[in-house]
């Protein structure tokens, strides 16, 4: 089982869209896939029409394996299941801070579904918190969408510093450009600059796409209704890159 986290400490960079589409491609590639929505807003679940899990408060998430497993829902797509979020996830950090081994609880909880899935994709909330640290520990790779703008670049640098300062494995971080508008000079220049700085940057990027924006209307991955859109094609390339780098095998 490989755990791929989709994470950024900045909001609005396309994390959920990335999680949803990568999870869909993973399942279509034949991997039994679980998309785990850790963001209390529950947007991943919304895109798949899966209602929030009422019965999974934070204490049971980390403590009661049976409840965690029973909260999993099949999506409308073969081999793709979802662990929907709920609002009690807001208090994850308070709860985690009171626990022993507070940075490895997520890894332990996900072990419960180890035999059911080949790929787990984590859709993470945008902050650096105890939950994020659990993610950093549990994940095999952390894909980070970066809008080629000043703020996003700054947060990517912050993330690297945090990893180094806290002895997390920097090589887990796989940044890629998201919501790219080639018409903008700033985007083009930032991309060139960052490509020099971060060798682990994925080659392809996700262009800004109105089809991706419409995911909320269709309530489905963009690939299901706009498979030929540039963003859809880019998500496929990015997935196959992640597949190789994370050594995901059938």
């Amino acid at each position: 089982m490989k755990i791929i986290a989709c994470y950024s400490n900045k909001g609005g960079v396309g994390k959920t869209a990335t999680s949803v589409n990568l999870a869909y491609i993973s399942a279509m590639s034949g991997y039994r896939t679980l998309l785990c929505d850790l963001d209390p807003q529950g947007a991943s679940g919304f895109y798949f029409r899966v209602k929030p899990s009422k019965k999974l408060p934070h204490n049971t998430f980390f403590d009661d394996v049976g409840k965690l497993v029973s909260a999993i829902r099949a999506s409308d797509y073969e081999k793709l299941d979802l662990l929907p979020a709920n609002l009690t996830y807001r208090d994850f950090d308070i709860f985690l801070s009171r626990m022993k081994n507070k940075r490895s609880r997520l890894k332990k909880a996900l072990k419960a579904v180890d035999s059911d899935y080949q790929v787990i994709i984590l859709d993470c909330p945008p902050n650096i918190s105890l939950l994020s640290e659990n993610v950093f520990k549990a994940a095999d790779k952390i894909v980070v969408p970066v809008i080629p703008s000043t703020l996003s670049v700054r947060t990517l640098a912050q993330l690297h510093t945090f990893f180094k300062d806290n002895n997390y494995q920097v090589k887990k971080i796989l940044p890629f450009f998201s919501m790219v508008q080639q018409s903008k000079k700033l985007h083009r220049e930032t991309m060139v600059a960052l490509q020099k700085e971060y060798k682990s940057l994925l080659e392809d990027y996700i262009p800004f796409s109105t089809d991706v924006e419409k995911m909320g209307v269709h309530r489905a991955p963009v690939l299901t209704y706009a498979g030929k859109d540039q963003a859809s094609i880019a998500y496929r390339t990015i997935w196959s890159d992640i597949e190789k780098k994370a050594k995901i095998k059938k």
Binding site: R49, K51, I72, R73, A74, D76
Partner: protein, 516 residues
Amino acid sequence: MEPFVYFLPSTLSLRKLRQHLPLEPHYQVILEQGEMQGAELLDTFDNGLFQAARLLFQVDRQLLLLDLQTGQLFEQAAPAGRPAIGDMAKGPVVDMLLEVSRLRSLLPVVGIRMRRDEGRVLDDEGKTLVRFYHLTIGRGRRKFMGMGCAQYLRGYSEAYSDLWQWLENCGAMACQNAGDIYSGLGIALRQYCVKPELELLPQTPVKESVTAILGTFLKIGRQNEQGVIADIDTEFLHDYRVCFRKVRSVLSLCTGVFDAKDSARLKEHLAAIMRTTNGLRDLDVYLLNRAEYYRLVPPSAHAGLQILFDSFAQKRKGEQKKVSSAMQSKGYLRSMENLEKIFAVSDNIKSGPQAEVSSLTFARRLILKRYRKVCKTGRDLDETTPDQVIHQLRIHCKKLRYLMEFFAPLFPSGEIKKLIRSLKLLQDNLGNFNDYSVQQQFLEKMLASDIASGTKAMVVAHSIGALTAMLHQLQGHERKQIIENLAGFDSLDIRDSFKELFLTEEGADEDNSLLQ
């Protein structure tokens, strides 16, 4: 959660299903109707798919397999013609078929009309909660019936239970074997089993029992004739020969039951019939093992093999024609009718001195005698024993197996099966030993053929030499296994079981050496 595989004696419509929907929670049901098409239900000659609870349909150029145990549907393109399953292009349907048979071909059972509908139950946000498919099937003027399967989706057990309930309210019944469908469509299952369960009584005079055994195997053997003539698959000739070999074995093993002269005449007659098919069966075996021979020789020898197998395939055509016309000849048909008459009633053959002995006494005596022969031959076995003796042992074992199987209905089923199983282990080793012999003979034949001449002669001869050495080595290993397994078969435990089942009270252990 288990899928709900169901059989519905009537048709299913969305209207009917909706009538059974509860008001709360609010469900939406979608049923996408397929097209009604002509189709064929297929199975192997020996009902392999029926026995495995699988239904195979050919709709247009597509194969559709339904596994009644799991409710899963598998699809792939249908092959041209009717090749053996092992020769069909790999795919999800063929994977399932291979679990049933590699050598059999698929035959049409019956023509039907069918439609495939795909259904979904959704919640108020359009999320799919349960999926199901439904097949509507009809045959001739019979009314249409249906079958299908509801698949549970993780996390939506409530909707799944609800759909199960609605389907049951519509008349659906759980279905796990193909019998419901066959009877629903009025299909009579073909009666064919190469290992029939005979009904024998212990006190019946052995002549009657033996005649019943002969009659049964002759009949089963003859069921294969049309398949051999039409060259449907190689299993027809295989089963045909198994049955006729059994008939011959019964005649030669059960000495004293029939008049010796009559018995010898019948045996010779049967041997002549078998001889006609020897060439074809040998070629079948070589051709079926083609891939294995390719695997055994280095790639440099493949070109040679290709030439050899092409010539085998060519020869096979001739042999098949020969067998086919022999089986359709008046002489053959007359002799078969004659044999059927002879084996119909025990009075039709002259009795031998043992004819009136009870079946049980006779069987016990014969089986013990053969067991003794196996053990005696086996005890002298070591690494220097000539191959010929091992082949002899193989034949003793085969005869013992036949006897135990023929007379099995006279003994407690569990115990005799246990002994047959232990014998089978030994036979497997002996079979491998024999295969290595046959393969070496094959290579010799290859060396003597045209492919070993010309420019490639040295290369081919070299690889054949290496391969023969390897096979010889494997054969040596198998010999060791045989000695080990023989020790088990000649063990105190097995000996006691044989004694318990087959030793008669009247002291049949005449020379007192039987089980020491």
